[in-house]
Symmetry: C2
Subunit: 358 residues, 2 copies
């Protein structure tokens, strides 16, 4: 079958062996799959990602010198179950799944593995126990967004944000938009979104942000007082003395740019909780004394739970989340490598989907 | 009156004007006052501290070129109240107070101000509303520890630590020992304490640590599995698959050494909460991708509430906390500058108290 392969830090289209469903596995046809920021990063820096994973306690989980087929934000169609299947889902059924498959007695990541293909291949394997049927009426292009959108649901859950808090989203790429979607579903207000890109600001507004800021024109941290939070320690004392309530503040760092965490520590009100969702891949500098003075909290969050994944699919199917503003293009497997290039300099693009089928 | 003055980054003994209690203020005699790590740092680097405070939203709160009299960990004796006093506390009564005094309509820090003296002077001013009487039987030398010990009570409260969690204290100076005291009062177990200094490890044991580690001989992060926590992501998955419970982990960073936060991120189990209590005064490097992979949480905490301060005094008076292991020397005002020098290379010393009275 045809697949888009990462080989020696390049993307190449090549034929690979047809996967075969073992016991507990299901062979699926890849209908559509989004390109994730992590795919982009892993294309060029898989050595770093492998080393960071090892340092994080994952062991020798991937060999960057061997082929990898990316693709973990997929909607697929069941072709056939492996031997001894007890699944009620029939061939032809559209499905999504968390990007894991049990193989050789352990969980392999689908989309970042030397052993199993990801969804940038015509066909790939999933575990039948993890399959979730795509409800009728939900287009495959939107079902494929469940994975990145679940990241937002998880970050909001882990943030512990209270109803009275001001939520500020820094960076409105797919992760930031997923945050806005999750906050909107939770009925949160206000949602304040910041991005340099006009296209991403427009998408943020469509996803439900109440205030949208262009940081090249307005400092988002100049807004705190208007939004209802005492912006500095001195103001906090004055407000407290005057019996004026100050709203809590939660900032979601969704850009992963170096230096950004400290800029938020500098600009955010005292006691701000900063939820770091964007992955800054290089070492970064913070100034603990400023964070101490302001009693800042930093929560680093990742991925999602099975429950959050299923709830996000439900929210897409019920129309509580409209995935349309995320998708800015859909391309064939032949054009996928070029789409990776386009995304490496984000401009008008937010999420590009790939249709691996012929 | 005599006072120890910070003047041009030096400590000098000099005569200064006698303070006079205004309305709402109380003139007190300084009985005993501890030297804090922040005094030490501010002696040499007040410009940095002033700038960091300004950047943290405190405005122009101190002029490093003008005289400052340190001393904010005090036990004092009431000399006289200012005009119109309604205080029930009589002259001769021993008192402690949070280190603030209302002066000229605003709160001045006692011990770090250009306008009011700290407790390294024979006499100083407090606000009569903030005075707490020292219960009979509590020696002044132990009452003076209420301020640093309240820092521990606050850090434990802000940590949100649960009963089942493993508490690890990195650095057993006065801050680390205060943490151990507060965890002990809360009935927490196990308390694991780490310090390179034998004297500080001995103090940690006396304060109630259950496990004491010399990091020059044993890597504290090699202990997690024995303590009951899955130490890595891979182990976490294995434990989960085997139905083996993993205890939560909370690490209190009480040393403030550069690079230490990242070393804890590297060594601690996934989902560890790191409570930063030690003030690293210089920019520090973290690697967000490792923190993300491990879903680490960083809480920067500072100071205490009025309730925590009062509760700590109560715990000292009732014998729930024994301050004795903290105090390694008591010196006169004449020897205080030399005691500052000794503390700048911590060895056998933990907390040195100063008796400013003649």
């Amino acid at each position: 079958m045809r697949a888009l392969i990462r080989r020696k830090a390049q993307l190449v289209l090549d034929d690979v062996a047809e996967p075969e469903a073992g016991r507990g596995q299901t062979l699926v046809k890849s209908l559509v799959c989004g390109i994730c920021g992590s795919d982009l990063h892993q294309l060029h820096h898989l050595e770093h990602v492998a080393a960071a994973g090892k340092r994080s306690g994952l062991g020798d989980w991937i060999d960057p010198n061997r082929d990898v087929i990316f693709g973990h934000e997929f909607c697929a169609e069941i072709i056939e179950h492996g031997p001894g299947s007890t699944s009620k889902l029939k061939p032809g059924q559209r499905v999504v799944s968390m990007p894991f498959v049990m193989a050789g007695g352990k969980a392999e990541w689908v989309g970042i593995s030397n052993h199993v293909p990801g969804a940038f291949a015509e066909r790939f394997l999933l575990s039948e126990d993890f399959l979730l049927p795509v409800p009728n009426g939900l287009p495959s292009e939107h079902a494929a967004l469940v994975e990145p959108l679940a990241v937002g649901a998880h970050a909001v859950a882990e943030s512990g944000i209270t109803r009275d808090a001001i939520a500020m989203i820094i960076g409105c790429g797919p992760v930031g938009l997923a945050l806005i979607a999750a906050l909107k579903v939770a009925g949160h207000e206000p949602i304040v979104a910041c991005d340099f890109s006009p296209a991403r600001r427009a998408a943020a507004e469509k996803m439900g942000a109440h205030v949208v800021i262009d940081p090249s024109k307005d400092d988002p941290h100049a807004r705190w007082e208007t939004l209802g939070a005492a912006p500095t320690l001195l103001e906090q004392m004055k407000w407290a003395a005057a019996g004026r309530a100050s709203k809590p503040s939660v900032v979601f760092e969704c850009a992963g740019a170096p230096g950004l965490i400290q800029r938020i520590i500098d600009g955010a009100p005292p006691k701000t909780r900063i939820v770091v969702v964007g992955a800054c891949m290089q070492p970064d500098t913070i100034e603990p004394v400023i964070a101490l003075n302001k009693q800042i909290e930093l929560r680093f969050v990742l991925a999602y739970t099975a429950g959050e994944f299923a709830a996000t699919l439900h929210n897409l199917a019920e129309g509580h989340i409209d995935g349309a503003p995320l998708v800015t293009d859909i391309v064939s497997l032949e054009s996928a490598a070029e789409a990776f290039n386009r995304l490496s300099t984000p401009g008008a693009d937010v999420k590009i989907l790939v249709r691996p089928g012929s």
